[in-house]
């Protein structure tokens, strides 16, 4: 309770500071007061624009999130069950993660369409986080539990299903929580490679046309939606830890 009060207080101070700095103009015209940004966000005439952009970005994010999660889960589980694959898959994931998504963009653009590049870049980000979290989660079962399953005569699949997979759930959910913001960043970067619409496009257009307040609106929308889903996933994580931790 005290902590959330302090958190609210900190946020309020931050927002007030933002407003004051914007009003004073010490940081130049590229730092508008918060109230101008909120006023534009509240302007009904702009809602169709914001709605289309946010809708497109969230759709790409969700698609990339699902694909990345599926791929990360599948590879981590496969590598866990087939030790032969373990080292190779670790390397593959590490290499994929070390390639900047800016560099991958053009390749996706050639391989896929402009519309699906955001989801593809997003899925790469998610894939790595989910792969790492599931891989480490599957190794989390305690030696005592492993001994128990061995003495009870569990084969590898039974041990996987009844011990390792449930033990990996908290770690998976933590990964899912961290993966959402990464998925959103991936989608926005992907949009810069020529997607027809999205928050990323809004950001670029606003920047090139020097529409500073619009630029900040796009950023606030991105941050707000990211925080919202992050919050939802944090609650899911807490529930999972309560049950499986």
């Amino acid at each position: 309770m005290k902590q959330s009060l302090l958190g609210a207080l900190g946020t309020a101070i931050f927002l007030a500071l933002w407003e004051a700095l914007g009003r004073s103009g010490v940081l130049g015209i590229s730092w508008p007061p918060l109230s101008d940004v909120l006023a534009m966000l509240a302007d009904e005439n702009r809602w169709p624009l914001f709605g289309r952009a946010l809708g497109a970005t969230l759709a790409s994010t969700a698609l990339g999130y699902c694909w990345g999660t599926a791929a990360g889960l599948a590879l981590a589980m496969l590598a866990h069950l087939l030790p032969l694959l373990r080292r190779g898959s670790d390397r593959l994931a590490a290499v994929l993660n070390s390639v900047p998504s800016i560099a991958l963009g053009p390749i996706f653009l050639v391989l896929l369409s402009r519309e699906s590049t955001p989801a593809a870049v997003s899925s790469i980000h998610v894939f790595f986080i989910v792969f790492v979290s599931v891989s480490s989660g599957l190794a989390r079962a305690t030696p005592a539990h492993r001994d128990l399953f061995a003495v009870l005569g569990a084969d590898r699949l039974k041990r996987f299903r009844r011990l390792e997979l449930p033990a990996a759930l908290p770690s998976l959910v933590s990964g899912l929580r961290l993966a959402w913001p990464a998925a959103l960043i991936g989608a926005i970067i992907g949009e810069w490679f020529g997607a027809p619409r999205g928050i990323g496009i809004l950001i670029i257009n606003a920047m090139q046309n020097f529409q500073i307040v619009l630029l900040w609106c796009a950023v606030v929308l991105a941050v707000g939606s990211s925080l919202f889903f992050y919050g939802v996933l944090t609650m899911l994580e807490r529930a999972t830890y309560e049950r499986f931790g």
């Binding site: 305690t142 539990h145 001994d147 128990l148 061995a150 003495v151 009870l152 499986f244």
Partner: protein, 255 residues
């Protein structure tokens, strides 16, 4: 070795590799022990004497460096593959995401058998957890968790029950209570049992025979037949004969 032996340990040695040491550590040396069907044997010894290693060999969790271990005439790994071993460790090893009932049902699921709900209910009653069937392990006290883990060890009516200091982490009072309970539960089933413990009282109160081990390398120092009739009342622990045996074994442990 008698034909009726349920657990036959024949001249078993176990050497563990040790970093920086050529010959490693000799945990057990040429140890032979035979446990008859339906017999309750307690292995008593100081920590690090290899008594847990001995149990892990019978549980097929370790392989002997030399010698053989047989459980009802078969290699231990075959016995565990047939889901015929019951085990309880010092760590209760209950799965935190399952209820007590589902934890006790786990051996059925691992064995791919139909879960015998009435048997689980009876067993939970027997170990005094009837009212806590739907609780989760973290809601239980340490003693209750060990009861659940013992119920889980018994649920498939195993050929052999292996207990590795199951009450080692409990306080003295709870531990004594659990001994009384285990004695009662065991008397109802009389499964061949191997109990690892460093408590002389516990060994004497529960077992038909107490085996004292020496440390490094693990060898058998002494074997004592426990003369008390079953079922044993806790008052037996206050008898002259009991105290005499306790002194005797404590002395053997200290040499």
């Amino acid at each position: 070795m008698s034909a009726a032996a349920a657990i036959a340990i024949d001249r078993v040695s176990k050497r563990f590799a040790l970093a920086g040491s050529e010959e490693g550590v000799l945990a057990l040396s040429e140890l032979s022990l035979s446990i008859a069907s339906g017999e309750f044997v307690a292995i008593l010894g100081p920590s690090g004497c290899g008594k847990s290693t001995l149990l892990r060999l019978v549980a097929a969790l370790e392989q002997p460096t030399a010698g053989t271990v047989n459980v009802n005439g078969a290699a231990p790994n075959l016995v565990s593959a047939h889901h015929a071993l019951g085990v309880a460790f010092q760590d209760h090893a209950l799965l935190p995401w399952l209820s007590v009932r589902d934890n006790v049902a786990l051996p059925f699921r691992i064995a791919g058998r139909r879960v015998d709900e009435p048997a689980i209910t009876r067993l939970l009653e027997l170990v005094g957890l009837g009212r806590f069937a739907d609780a989760r392990p973290k809601q239980l006290s340490g003693g209750m968790r060990q009861r659940a883990s013992i119920a889980r060890a018994l649920v498939l009516e195993p050929e052999v029950l292996l207990l590795d200091e199951p009450f080692g982490a409990l306080d003295a009072v709870t531990r004594r209570q659990m001994n009384v309970e285990l004695q009662r539960i065991w008397s109802a089933r009389q499964i061949t049992t191997m109990l690892i413990t460093h408590s002389v009282d516990e060994a004497l109160f529960l077992a038909d025979r107490v085996v004292v081990m020496s440390g490094r390398p693990g060898r058998i120092l002494r074997e004592v037949k426990v003369p008390f009739d079953r079922p044993r009342d806790p008052s037996v622990m206050r008898s002259e004969a009991f105290h005499h045996l306790v002194d005797d074994l404590t002395e053997a442990l200290e040499t």
